[in-house]
């Protein structure tokens, strides 16, 4: 493929939206209140919508009549390039919000830079997503505060979730070869540049929520290279079920 780096770059961003959208989709009808149920579905919808825009662009790059659904459903696990954070399970509502917040802060920073991309399509998708992701961050941030500074039980649960998921945050700021190449030609974002700002913003909110900022030196990496946690295979089994069981059909 001529634009191999661009293609891989798009997947790196889009796969995280797809997998997080898929995880949130599992919760539909099972939320702690009707209002949170509606909000989580809404976030899932936004993410799936963004994913479609990215994949439609990526499908054009492959050509050969490939569609957004071929990209979404017909790759093997090693070919999904999402970060490990987003594939982590919905252990409880505290985990769901921690995962969301840790991702949203990064996601908004990413899109805010990507909207200046020299690649017009990427810039347009990013610009459209900013409003949505700002809302996601406000929603998840508000819940981190409520749960962190709510009851003793919610505080402990929230702290557990943050402690557990913290090890997946550093991966957000690693650069693959495609990322580096895209950043060099100004169509991609150098995510290392806002790493410090990210930890500052996250830490500030955690403190406001009376939570401790984990002091962790060890992190987990791999998603961006297609090496996932054990949760991923089950998630894909659901995601791909119809396309695998009934190949080459229109739905």
């Amino acid at each position: 493929m001529k634009n191999e780096n661009l293609y891989r770059y798009i997947l790196g961003i889009a796969d995280s939206s797809l997998i997080l959208g898929q995880r949130l989709g599992e919760l539909c009808g099972h939320g702690p209140s009707l209002e949170t149920d509606i909000a989580l579905t809404n976030i899932s919808l936004d993410l799936i919508g963004q994913t479609r825009s990215y994949y439609q662009y990526a499908a054009k790059l492959i050509g050969d009549g490939k569609s957004e659904d071929d990209i979404a459903f017909l790759r093997i696990e090693r070919e999904y390039l999402n970060v490990l954070l987003v594939e982590q399970p919905n252990t409880h509502f505290g985990y769901v919000m921690a995962r969301q917040f840790l991702f949203d802060v990064y996601h908004l920073m990413l899109l805010s830079e990507l909207k200046n991309s020299s690649d017009e399509t990427l810039a347009a998708i990013a610009a459209k997503g900013i409003k949505e992701v700002s809302y996601h961050k406000r929603f998840s941030g508000d819940w981190i505060k409520r749960l962190g500074d709510g009851t003793q039980e919610s505080h402990d649960k929230m702290q557990d979730a943050i402690n557990d998921l913290w090890r997946y945050t550093d991966e957000l700021f690693t650069m693959t070869e495609a990322d580096a190449e895209m950043s060099r030609n100004n169509s991609g974002v150098d995510v290392t540049r806002f790493k410090e700002a990210y930890y500052e913003e996250v830490s500030r909110l955690l403190r406001e929520a009376t939570l401790e900022v984990p002091e962790r030196k060890y992190f987990q990496y791999g998603g961006k290279k297609g090496v996932h946690t054990e949760h991923m295979g089950y998630l894909l089994a659901d995601l791909q079920y119809m396309q695998r069981a009934y190949p080459n059909m229109k739905w």
Binding site: Q22, G25, E26, C28, G29, H30, G31, P32, S33, L34, E35, T36, D37, I38, T41, N42, S44, L45, I48, G49, T51, R52, Y55, E68, D69, A72, F73, H92, F93, G94, K145, R146, L147, D149, G150, T151, E153, S154, K157, D238, L239, Y241, M242, Q243, Y246, M249, K250, W251
Partner: protein, 318 residues
């Protein structure tokens, strides 16, 4: 209040309904009117949120991104319907928590159709086409019902339901224009959902205990049997377009009446499911109870946090 005064109020009330005036929450209303409305509106709200489960079951497995997004949006609409129906019900002086309690304890009912399992993707089409189709027939007359908040909620609900129905039919159409396997999937779904959909319109008029009073209060404009006939007359030609056959050997167009004749409904099955012994009654209710119980610490935290914030604001103001 003296008996005579109540009687007088009742007469004024009935006259208002006869003039098609809307009854608003602050207006005087007979206790039976209030209770009937709490029962029906909450049953409707519960049906919306329990109804999220059979379709929610397919969100993670939807066969394309377009279908996944549409299904998410649909299930979200149902949650929204639940929200405004609970709000309409709350205007009658009962809290949402109490209504949930009635659902969880099994005291309140919800539409029995949601106690059937969704076993293939085609069920997403069949539910939209048939279940939402039957729901619309039940609900359109409610846009003109006498209780204002319910009538207004129903206007919005019906608009969205008719969109859902078209979406469901379009899923069926795509399957029926697809491969042999897909068409079989569609026929199988129709076979399983047809009779339960007919049952959704309620027991036959002879068996229906609430019909007479409900007609008077405009909670109902047509009887169950009339609505059922309307549903069948409307749906059979749609099945013809799909090239699917209705699983009823007795179904036949009747020139004389201008309606379809149809076979005997299995009312034993209907009552079995209503009484809690359908294929998924236990699972549906358990899923709602689990969501509520597992969410308790979250709701408690939100209350505790709000109280702390309020105290802080007061302190700062002082």
């Amino acid at each position: 209040m003296k008996e005579k005064e109540v009687k007088n109020l009742e007469e004024i009330f009935e006259a208002r309904i006869a003039r098609d005036e809307k009854i608003e929450p602050k207006d005087w209303m007979p206790e039976k009117y209030r209770q009937t409305h709490i029962r029906q509106i909450s049953q409707h709200a519960h049906s919306e949120i329990v109804g999220m489960l059979p379709e929610g079951n397919w969100i993670t497995r939807a066969p394309s991104l377009r279908r996944k997004a549409a299904l998410l949006a649909k299930v979200q609409d149902e949650a929204g319907h639940g929200l405004y129906l609970y709000s309409a019900c709350e205007t009658l002086g009962i809290s949402r928590d109490e209504l949930y309690e009635q659902l969880h304890s099994g005291k309140a009912k919800y539409s029995s159709i949601f106690n059937y399992p969704t076993v293939t993707w085609a069920d997403m089409g069949a539910i939209g086409w048939l279940v939402d189709g039957a729901a619309i027939i039940n609900q359109v007359p409610l846009c003109n019902t006498s209780f204002g908040p319910y009538a207004r909620a129903m206007v919005r609900v019906c608009k969205e339901e008719s969109f859902h129905q078209r979406q469901g039919y379009e899923i069926m159409l795509t399957l029926c224009n697809g491969t042999e396997e897909q068409k079989e999937m569609a026929q199988d779904a129709l076979n399983r959902w047809w009779w339960p959909s007919l049952m959704m319109l309620g027991p036959t008029d002879a068996e229906s205990v609430h019909t007479e009073q409900s007609m008077k209060w405009k909670l109902k404009r047509k009887t169950n049997d009339e609505l059922r006939q309307q549903f069948i007359d409307q749906t059979v030609p749609q099945a013809d377009i799909l090239g699917l056959s209705i699983p009823d050997p007795d179904l036949k167009w009747n020139e004389e009446t201008g309606h379809y004749d149809f076979g005997e409904i299995d009312w034993d099955e209907f009552w079995q499911v209503v009484k809690g012994h359908g294929p998924c009654n236990k699972e549906r209710l358990q899923a709602r109870v689990d969501a509520w119980e597992n969410g308790e610490w979250v709701r408690d935290a939100a209350v505790a946090y709000a109280e702390k914030q309020e105290k802080k604001t007061i302190k700062e103001a002082v």
